[in-house]
Symmetry: D2
Subunit: 311 residues, 4 copies
């Protein structure tokens, strides 16, 4: 098994190789709380399916899930509501457009977000979170993340959530557009409130790697063996991570790395190596399509070393 060779030193060496790339990227500026990130940070953790853990770089810091939360809310909603209801509201096709794009909504008939990984689709999924109130929905989502990450103290960062809530104009635009055509049922301000908090859930690389490991194990808790996500839902989520998990660079990532992965503008990436391990990465310097520039490079190098592409 190639994983035998994987250890803290190996991981650190690979991180050392990719650290210089961070200088070529830019920290997300449009959310004030994210703009304060340390651009040169690069950290990674690996959580193997048999429970071993490796870490390297500037690990230990927390960061917010941002778009990584899209795949977790999707998993929760799929298990709660079933494929039929979910896919009557949101499509399954990659769009080729930036995550914030609204034109495809206008050109689609009936109006339907292309997939749950672009903002329009993710907002429609958030609208479907289980719970009678937005407080209840948020609590359910955070509980879910805690279970997946194996940590009961995970919380959302109030400052980041507030900051995004104040400036989420594009997301409100998408929501009102969908409201007009009946794609969402809830109130726009409630969904924005919930979505910004969902995106602001704080996590560290190791916790993220553990969530990745759950997906690696087709939904099973790597410690207890319990089924946290149904097999079918885990499979669907991995599919979306491949076809549209890395923004409008997903196709390129599939070719160059080839594992299910989801990134966020905070600089986080969760990658899933089926039946082997989950990976959590943090590197806030982003490339021009919104992915952690060093994180992408690190995954490419790991794939060269450990040959984990599913293709």
């Amino acid at each position: 098994m190639k994983e035998r060779q994987l250890n803290d030193d190996e991981l650190q060496n690979l991180i050392n190789e990719v650290e210089p790339y961070a200088n070529k990227g830019e920290v997300a500026e449009y959310i004030p709380a994210l703009a304060r990130a340390n651009k040169t940070d690069v950290a990674a953790a690996v959580y193997t399916v048999d429970g071993r853990v490796f870490q390297g770089g500037t690990y230990g810091h927390t960061f917010t899930l941002q778009s990584i939360s899209k795949v977790l809310s999707l998993a929760l909603v799929l298990d709660e509501r079933g494929e039929e209801e979910v896919f009557s509201n949101v499509g399954m096709e990659p769009s080729g457009d930036p995550y914030y794009s609204i034109s495809k909504l206008e050109f689609s008939n009936p109006t339907k977000p292309y997939n749950p990984m672009i903002n329009a689709g993710a907002l429609a999924i958030t609208d479907l979170l289980p719970g009678r109130s937005k407080e209840r929905k948020l609590a359910n989502f955070i509980d879910y993340v805690r279970q997946l990450a194996g940590n009961n103290r995970i919380e959302y960062n109030k400052n980041v959530a507030d900051s995004e809530f104040q400036t989420s104009f594009l997301n409100r635009s998408l929501l009102y557009y969908m409201k007009q055509f009946g794609v969402i049922g809830g109130k726009v301000e409630d969904i924005i409130d919930l979505y910004t908090k969902q995106c602001a859930v704080e996590i560290d690389c190791l916790q993220l790697a553990r969530i990745g490991a759950v997906f690696s194990l087709n939904g099973k808790d790597p410690e207890k063996g319990t089924q946290l996500i149904s097999e079918r839902t885990a499979s669907i989520c991995k599919t979306f991570m491949v076809t549209c998990g890395m923004y409008n660079a997903s196709g390129e990532f599939a070719i160059k790395v080839g594992v299910p992965a989801k990134s966020g503008v905070s600089g986080g990436i969760m990658a899933v190596v089926p039946n082997r391990f989950g990976i959590g990465i943090y590197g806030p310097a982003l490339d021009d399509r919104g992915n952690s520039i060093a994180g992408w490079k690190l995954l490419q190098k790991m794939n060269e070393r450990y040959a984990f592409s599913i293709f």
Copy 2:
């Protein structure tokens, strides 16, 4: 002078000819208050530059300005703020798209509504109405309409405004999109509040014809001779009425009728025959592009009779 032949009977005859078309159209359904209109109503008034008045059809009823208000807010804002400021926020080009379209905003760089007659542009103009508060801005707008229409009791219809305020999801989507890119400065809910009230100003055909006469006279009050709108602003407004006043049928209207005109989904049309007369029409049955179906036909027949195309 051909106007010599214009009188109440002539106008009534033409209205009789076009009344049957009303059955082929549909009353706007998306605003509950508009859906209650009497589909077969057709009314028209002509106000000549020398102050004579002709009326025919089911005149006397009031209706709301809806999109016709776009040209009045534009006139007010142009005279208050000047061309430079206005056109740094809103473009001058017809778009060929439906009035509610958002894609062109996404494809334009920098983000800028194509013109002040589509909803995006009209909302940006409303944001520029003079006044320190939304109440003051509304009062200024209503005062302005009163002066143009020569009637001090003009008011907005609270029911229609409320009804639209509840359902203006697309306009909120446009506003948040523009907010993201700095096209508007005010608060979205304030602008929506103001815009729905501006659209809900109630008027009758004769008052609308009188406003048309003001534009016919390059901005002069047809009774007092005072300059209500500057000549330059009146000229700009007439230009926009020709290039984009009749939704995405403006090009066809220019070819088939050929005078500056602005329509609204309430079924109103204001037409301007330069130096001759203004026309106010009400016919709530709309064609598939949102123009009064009988109103359009009436203007075509009037042009055949009175040869008023400017082309």
Copy 3:
């Protein structure tokens, strides 16, 4: 009459004022034959409806019609085939897009060019030119231009036509797209051959001004008084010149100058001041939307002096 003040000296003075703008523009590079034009040339001619003629600048040179030919082929086809046939193939709406755009074709249903002034529409009109063969169609078109310009020696420039024929890839793309959806009936290579020759017809400012005078007189020959273009067709052409004659700056031109006009990438502009005069301009330095930069400025200054806006 303000025209009394118009004379060669006045025109020369205005040209002197706008000449410096030529340095801010660029000569069209994509057609090799056009790229050799003298960037600082500015010339203009005025042809009044009573037959007087004024000229200024570097007049006397010939240039090719390019897109100005679109309005002449439209006139010929409208008079030969009637509105119904023409407008079943081509629309009447300004599009807001660049003249070479293909997306609007894809988004329209059924497939139909928005108007006859964008390339797609102009190519569909060329397909309808009267004549049994492409040679006959071309001869008919050139005869028509000769009549309008009052000069029997007008010919097309073979070098320019050849040069464009070799490089008309975008126009072929538009034609094949329309061929797929039945918008055109003829062979693509025949239409390209014909269209490039139509665009390459050579003319000078004075001839162009005379054609403008024909439109000023609603289709009448300014010397003989014969009806060269039917009144209705002349009116339709003037309408299109206002709504879409100056590429995707037509709206702005209508506001800033306000007369029917058509420009070409050779740097020519034909402007029509109804019932007063036609204007022919040549200034090959173009602005970023394809209009003669000095020509546009000259028309703005002439409008300030002679107040000829129709709005």
Copy 4:
């Protein structure tokens, strides 16, 4: 191993289950030669990596590769020219648009087809086929297919190629658009000639299954063990088959079936179950996105039975 259960009878049973779906689809009408296909035909073959073969349905008939050829020309060109050259001309992202779409080309800057599975991208790949003449390029392509399919008599169908050549207006439109922006170097008519012949290569289900088996084996010939396609190229091709192999239903197919697959409008589908088997399907009745309706269902049922999704 689940494949133990796979045999001719099992396959026939599954085909029997999906045959009724053929009545809900439609045979491609736009290519006359395809319109004559027998709508109710359903055939399938499986070629295991250890050389066993199973067949069912109306097998034995040949059909043309159509879009399935896109993945074979890509493989050949990637191995001949390398990733760098190929991806400087063609992108790696799924587009979400129909395969014939041209708008994305207009909106991309620089102009570049989104991926090699839509027509624009496939045509650009055909332009890169190795060989000094179009005859040589075609010969090389056919040789390549023969090797992959293990049959030296494979040829293209001249009638189908001629029929498509006459009617390939959209593809010519795409090619001229790309020619304008330097995406292709060859002559449009040469590329069309080559592309229509490439699409018209005739094959049967078993041959197609064998090609699938080559991809299953990461490029190895299942009989001789020689490397027909490099591992890297086979991996890239499988990735594109997942992200964009089933037209604009690729995302849905990935979720519902989950293996690399490529379909064609002839009704063929090649599917690849990594390290297990290749599948060749023929069912000319298509769904509204251009995929064999019974073929899709058959793959869904096979996945339920043999659990071959890679996700």
